[in-house]
């Protein structure tokens, strides 16, 4: 499997600007490689999906983009990850500042056990947001397509919301920080089909303002919502291309087998 060179053609494919550039990224947990030699670009105002079977390293790769792997003991990262041209794995980079610009939504909705309002206001609050908090809360909830459902109960506990609403609240919470990039780690895996479709619509609407990277188990989801798709297997990037290409005419046999459901 020759995965190393799969990114080069795509850089020329679209004239689109890269927000994140990964070159030969390898990530090890206690010496065990989880991601090996991955190189790809994340393009601005596009949705990029990372697909692959369980344990292929897609979440690990995603979490390296806002340095959430820092919390895991004994993790080593090699290679280069550039965000806006700046090496983000460097010791001199403050991960706190990075995460203000690269937001994240997790697999399981994880609202704070606080009110709906405070969930949104929390991030901007600690980061010294000076504008009108009420406006920001409303704006964020509108963007996350949750405003109409919660506008009369902003002081209720976020835990009183349904799973799908909680996940949209978590998206709103991330959007309130006005990030450049939004990372989503299987955001729909704990949700029912109706909530899933609402989140997919939302992702589609958000890409005009945000660059989105989404890890998903669900190939149909990747095909529906993303502009680019990366297929990973056993820690390696098998293929990365525009989504249509991956699903209709992949270069690699493994990709074809996976997207047609022959394995995985």
């Amino acid at each position: 499997m020759t995965s190393e060179s799969k990114t080069t053609p795509i850089a020329n494919y679209h004239g689109s600007e890269s927000v994140l550039e990964l070159r030969d990224v390898s990530i090890c947990y206690s010496g065990n490689p989880a991601v090996q030699n991955v190189s790809l670009n994340i393009f601005k105002y596009n949705v990029t999906s990372i697909i692959g079977p369980s344990g292929c390293g897609k979440s690990t790769l995603l979490r390296s983009l806002n340095r959430m792997n820092d919390f895991i003991a004994d993790v080593t990262i090699e290679g280069s990850i550039k965000f806006d041209g700046v090496e983000l794995t460097g010791k001199e980079i403050d991960p706190v500042l990075l995460r203000r610009r690269v937001g994240m939504v997790f697999q399981k909705p994880n609202p704070f056990p606080k009110s709906i309002y405070k969930n949104i206001a929390w991030g901007p609050g600690i980061n010294g947001y000076e504008g009108s908090m009420d406006d920001l809360v409303e704006h964020s909830l509108v963007q996350a397509a949750l405003w109409d459902e919660v506008k009369d109960r902003l002081q209720d506990s976020a835990l009183s919301l349904s799973g799908g609403q909680q996940q949209r609240l978590c998206i709103a919470r991330a959007l309130a920080m006005a990030p450049d990039v939004l990372l989503m780690d299987e955001p729909c895996s704990a949700l029912d089909p109706i909530s899933t479709s609402r989140i997919e619509d939302l992702i589609f609407a958000l890409k005009s303002k945000y660059t989105i990277v989404i890890v998903t188990h669900n190939m149909q989801q990747a095909a529906r919502i993303s502009d680019y798709t990366a297929f990973m297997e056993s820690g390696k990037l098998v293929e990365f291309d525009i989504t249509n290409q991956i699903f209709t005419n992949p270069t690699e046999k493994r990709t074809e087998e996976y997207v047609t459901g022959r394995f995985g």
Partner: protein
């Protein structure tokens, strides 16, 4: 047919295992019953003797009286000096143990490496296992002399050294229980906060501690209830002088220390002095019971939040 036979109760082998099963269940239930019965008997005894006491001393005189002279004429049975002594010790101990215990818990759950945790936690638990009489001696022979260099006027028996050692005594309880509560906050919640550009200090103080607040509060209450019930250390350290003094430098007497004094003395059974024991014990029991109930309630409340 075969199945029907083996399922039949009258089959010899099965009846044997059935009565064995019943015997086991019976034994286990009996063991449980012993502790239940003991509790009930203690409560009944406390109630009965206290009732006798209150037929002779008006309840209001007891609960609101400010002079406690049960053994010398003219007697007076105002329990407030004892309650005050207990409060003084408990307040002082909490003042020491709550901040230090909470900070230790935060350090252990949020900052310490797993190696550090595996060293520090057993030490804390060891501290909890030291017999309380040792703490009492420690107060008399070490803490009080030390305090004397700071406060030359301090008495040999004083509330301050009692409060300090009781504080040290309940500290591990607060640290370990609060650590458990903080550690029970799901990692996903911390990650959610970190992903919003929070520093670890912000995550700890603004997300983790508030989320674990009821568990943390419940550890405080349990520790306070332990401080209220603490006997040996305060008897040795703080003395036996019922006193409503506002300073920590004088000798006081707590409810528990009074019970020790009477129990060890030659007070004859049946007299009014003897019954004061039960009245004071009932009051003590009520106070700790209420605290434990509140603490249990808080603990259950915080479990509910994460069970889903």
């Amino acid at each position: 047919m075969k199945i029907a036979m083996t399922l039949n109760k009258s089959n010899g082998k099965n009846t044997r295992s059935t009565w064995l099963e019943k015997l086991i269940v019976g034994t286990l239930a009996g063991c449980t019953l012993i502790s239940v019965i003991t509790t009930v008997v203690i409560i009944l005894m406390l109630g009965k003797e206290s009732a006798v006491f209150f037929t002779q001393i008006p309840f209001l005189d007891f609960i609101l009286g400010t002079r406690w002279v049960p053994l010398l004429e003219p007697t007076s049975y105002g329990v407030l000096p004892l309650v005050w002594g207990t409060l003084l010790i408990t307040f002082g101990a909490s003042l020491i143990a709550i901040p230090i215990g909470l900070c230790s818990a935060i350090y252990l759950s949020e900052y310490a490496s797993s190696r550090m945790r595996s060293i520090v936690k057993p030490i804390l638990e060891l501290l909890a296992g030291i017999p309380t009489v040792v703490y009492g001696y420690f107060a008399l022979t070490f803490v009080t002399p030390l305090l004397k260099t700071i406060f030359p006027s301090i008495q040999v028996f004083n509330a301050l050294s009692g409060a300090i050692v009781v504080g040290i005594m309940i500290l591990p309880m607060i640290a370990t229980l609060s650590d458990n509560a903080l550690s029970a906050v799901p990692r996903s919640l911390r990650e959610g906060a970190y992903a919003l550009g929070a520093t670890s200090f912000e995550v700890t103080t603004k997300v983790v501690v508030p989320a674990a607040l009821s568990g943390v509060m419940s550890s405080f209450l349990l520790a306070i209830s332990r401080a209220i019930g603490e006997t040996m250390a305060v008897t040795l350290a703080a003395g036996a002088t019922p006193n409503m003094s506002l300073t920590f430098l004088e000798s006081i007497q707590t409810m528990t220390a009074f019970i020790v004094q009477i129990s060890l003395g030659d007070t004859p059974a049946g007299g009014i002095a003897y019954q004061t024991l039960f009245a004071v014990a009932s009051l003590l029991f009520l106070i700790t019971l209420v605290l434990n109930i509140i603490s249990q309630w808080l603990m259950n409340r915080y479990r509910e939040v994460y069970d889903e």
